[in-house]
Symmetry: C2
Subunit: 148 residues, 2 copies
């Protein structure tokens, strides 16, 4: 597989830093901690995930990684969003930083390689297919009329 | 309550035309129809809803209504998206065209009255609060640093 050719129009990969990731493996410990200290059984891995991703997109890539507070999804942590340069914007959730770093890198590069943000379904990493939450058409988008 | 003052930068209200609305009231009839003709128990009210909304946003409003095919939500019909002019983009679902037309009109006007798309929570119509699916920061957005 050849590397996707990046388009010149930049892409921003937003990473939610407020997403709370439940920690089932720590459930009993956390439950104990909650009872005593009010610390709930989750962490917020967004900042670290954003930093790990940013380290993968160095110049001359036209991909910027931006940590942001809340993408209003909340129920499907960790959540990211992709947008930029007249492309459809995508929101993707259910991401596990420990498992999906390479998938997010690959998926973002494929996205950046498109002019409209529409990566063919089969070319999307599995977490991008399963985790898609919504998309927003680019500004000025008009649905093309179907040919007869 | 005074009418929101619209900002000059235009807003697009995208309305999904592929959203399938289940028809529970027709379930038994539809189930029978499905068995015989393959017609499933749903309709797709997006086109009609878009037309009803478009009739409410006439010049000089800076709000355009655009029917679009699929916002990739699907599980929470009917779905709309709002974006434009450097604002946060919002995706909102669970809308019932028969009940929520006025709410969508009011919510869209409030959105259009902001420069950044961030309508205060209490000023959002109830279906916009309950139905929010995701938001995407505007292009070029950087999270402001918190003051100490």
């Amino acid at each position: 597989m050849t590397a996707p050719v990046l388009q010149s129009k930049p892409v921003t990969l937003f990473v939610c830093t407020t997403c709370k990731r439940p920690l089932p493996g720590l459930a009993s410990m956390a439950a104990a901690a909650t009872a005593k200290t009010g610390v709930p059984p989750y962490d917020t891995p967004g900042h670290d995930f954003a930093a790990a991703l940013a380290a993968r997109f160095l110049a001359p890539d036209t991909i910027m990684v931006e940590p942001v507070e809340c993408l209003s999804v909340c129920k499907r942590p960790l959540t990211i969003a992709l947008s930029g340069g007249g492309r459809f914007g995508y929101v993707i959730g259910d991401l596990d930083p420990a498992k999906h770093l390479e998938d997010v890198v690959a998926g973002t590069k494929s996205y950046a390689a498109t002019a409209d943000g529409l990566v063919p379904w089969r070319e999307r990493p599995l977490p991008f297919r399963k985790g898609v939450i919504a998309r927003i058409p680019p500004i000025g988008f008009k649905q093309p009329e179907k040919s007869a």
